[in-house]
């Protein structure tokens, strides 16, 4: 059956874009229609319940944090973009192996579409699918209202039949879930926020971190390092005396002090060397260094110092 040849039984009008089983209305005469293509995935979309202003307001809750530069917080966001991405789901009715026979109903969800640069894996898909109002999939209408990202893998590939048991029924579907993508452009790049267009919940956002925070941290770290380095000159006799009384533990501490100082220096270096940004959602946020390699030079130094320290301690003790 070629889906391109589907027509309305009342007026003969074509049903363009219908790819699978769906509840649709005829474009020509408005008749309510049911399309049933056994074996093909059901295509639906979720009606965006939140508007662009609500999306900007949700993003603003994150962008107006205390640790974000005030200039960035004041800056107006670009016009939000509505993004529809494909989510695959399967409802299965399975008879588990064994006696007596027990039938299980299962429901699985997976992201089927990939949108470059948008961390959709952070979205709470089950909630988005539960809360949203499902409407028949109308590709033309979706394209008119936003960017549509089709599935990279179909539900058949994402949810292979389980190895054990017998599958009695299977309902595969592709649901196009709407998200608002809100962006602020700065000199250094852009910062985006992803808002669930069904519930209005902020799913993920990024923002620069104010430099004032780093100045304070720098001052504390410099004082801490200076104090740690100055200590052996001022009170080395007292320290050595104390450590000598501790026997083996004293020796361990004596050799661990340089490693701890190097670790502190490495942490300070990472904190001061890299520009940070804050990322998170409505409930939590984490700080992340930008362009930081897996291991910086000071971090490698910490590793080597620890290795040498442990080697010395193993030889001595």
């Amino acid at each position: 059956m070629s889906v391109s040849s589907l027509t309305c039984p009342r007026c003969g009008g074509r049903l363009p874009g219908v790819r699978g089983s769906a509840l649709v209305a005829c474009d020509a005469c408005g008749s309510p229609l049911a399309v049933h293509l056994p074996g093909a995935a059901v295509c639906e979309s979720i009606r965006p319940a939140r508007g662009a202003e609500e999306a900007v307001a949700a993003a603003g809750t994150f962008w107006n944090r205390k640790d974000v530069p005030p200039g960035f917080a004041r800056q107006a966001a670009e016009a939000p973009v509505l993004v529809f991405t494909a989510v695959a789901e399967v409802h299965r009715t399975r008879v588990a192996a064994g006696t007596p026979a027990v039938v299980h109903e299962s429901h699985e969800i997976a992201l089927a579409g990939v949108v470059p640069g948008i961390p959709l894996e952070k979205a709470d898909l089950p909630s988005a699918l539960e809360a949203g109002t499902r409407i028949p999939f109308d590709p033309a209408a979706l394209q008119r209202s936003g960017l549509v990202f089709d599935p990279v893998k179909g539900p058949e590939a994402l949810f292979p039949a389980p190895a054990s048991g017998v599958s009695l029924e299977e309902r595969l579907s592709v649901v196009y879930v709407p998200f608002w993508l809100v962006r602020k452009r700065t000199r250094r790049g852009f910062y985006d926020a992803l808002v669930d267009a069904g519930t209005g919940r902020l799913l993920h956002a990024r923002a620069p971190v104010a430099r004032t925070r780093r100045v304070f941290e720098s001052a504390v770290l410099i004082h801490l390092l200076a104090a740690a380095l100055a200590l052996p000159f001022r009170g080395w006799e007292a320290i050595a005396g104390t450590l000598a009384h501790l026997d083996e533990i004293g020796v361990i501490v004596f050799f661990l002090i340089p490693a701890a100082l190097v670790a502190l220096a490495a942490w300070s270096w990472n904190r001061l060397r890299f520009r940070y940004e804050v990322e998170g959602d409505a409930s939590h946020a984490t700080f992340r260094p930008i362009n930081k390699p897996d291991k910086t030079l000071p971090e490698r130094a910490v590793e080597r110092t620890m290795k040498v320290t442990l080697w010395i301690l193993a030889k001595i003790l």
């Binding site: 059956m1 589907l6 027509t7 309305c8 039984p9 009342r10 049903l15 699978g20 089983s21 769906a22 509840l23 008749s31 309510p32 229609l33 049911a34 399309v35 049933h36 293509l37 056994p38 059901v42 639906e44 409802h91 009715t93 008879v95 007596p100 026979a101 027990v102 039938v103 299980h104 109903e105 299962s106 429901h107 539960e130 028949p136 017998v166 009695l168 029924e169 309902r171 579907s173």
Partner: protein, 181 residues
């Protein structure tokens, strides 16, 4: 095989409740369920219990296939859900409790009031899987019935079995129908 059909009742012309991907639809106005995708649409008469226990609260309906098998002097009843509930097990769901209770209400013809997640053929396959055929192999009589459920918080409560189901996991969703009633 027809692939596109009007979502209208073939008897009264009223709108039907349907779930995409399921061939069977139910009329909102008359006691009929239809498979609109056969060459000549197949019909099933739908029923509700003559007397319903309905506690206070927003009411929705859940569809079931009631299998009645006569053997000798008596008869046995088996309830098979015509909806799907995520995570449900056939040994502990509403239908299994109704089956264990031997619930056999007097029925009257009435609109079902909900869409179906499976048709009679799928229900029969489920029936055969859960209750393997008896030695006599006599076919069971199959009736499409809906029972009222009360929406309480995020759960649906079926008063006869006194069982609860998470509303969010029920397919087709019944919340809209509860809100409508």
């Amino acid at each position: 095989m027809t692939y596109v059909a009007l979502r209208l009742c073939r008897t009264c012309g009223a709108a039907v409740d349907a779930w995409a991907g399921v061939a069977w639809v139910t009329c909102r106005e008359c006691p009929a369920a239809w498979d609109l995708f056969t060459a000549s649409p197949s019909k099933l008469v739908t029923y509700r219990p003559a007397r319903e226990i309905v506690p206070k609260g927003p009411v929705a309906r859940l569809p079931f296939f009631l299998f009645v098998k006569r053997n000798g002097a008596g008869e046995s009843v088996v309830w098979i859900p015509a909806y799907r509930a995520t995570g449900a097990r056939s040994d502990s769901d509403v239908a299994s409790i109704l089956t264990r209770k031997g619930h056999r209400p007097a029925l009257v013809e009435a609109p079902l009031g909900c869409a179906l997640a499976r048709g009679p053929r799928e229900a029969l396959a489920l029936f055969d899987a859960i209750h393997p055929a008896d030695e006599d192999g006599a076919p069971a009589e199959q009736t499409l019935v809906s029972l009222p459920v009360v929406l309480t918080g995020g759960s649906l409560h079926e008063p006869v079995s006194d069982a609860w189901i998470a509303d969010a996991g029920v397919r087709p969703p019944v919340l809209t129908r509860a809100a409508r009633s």
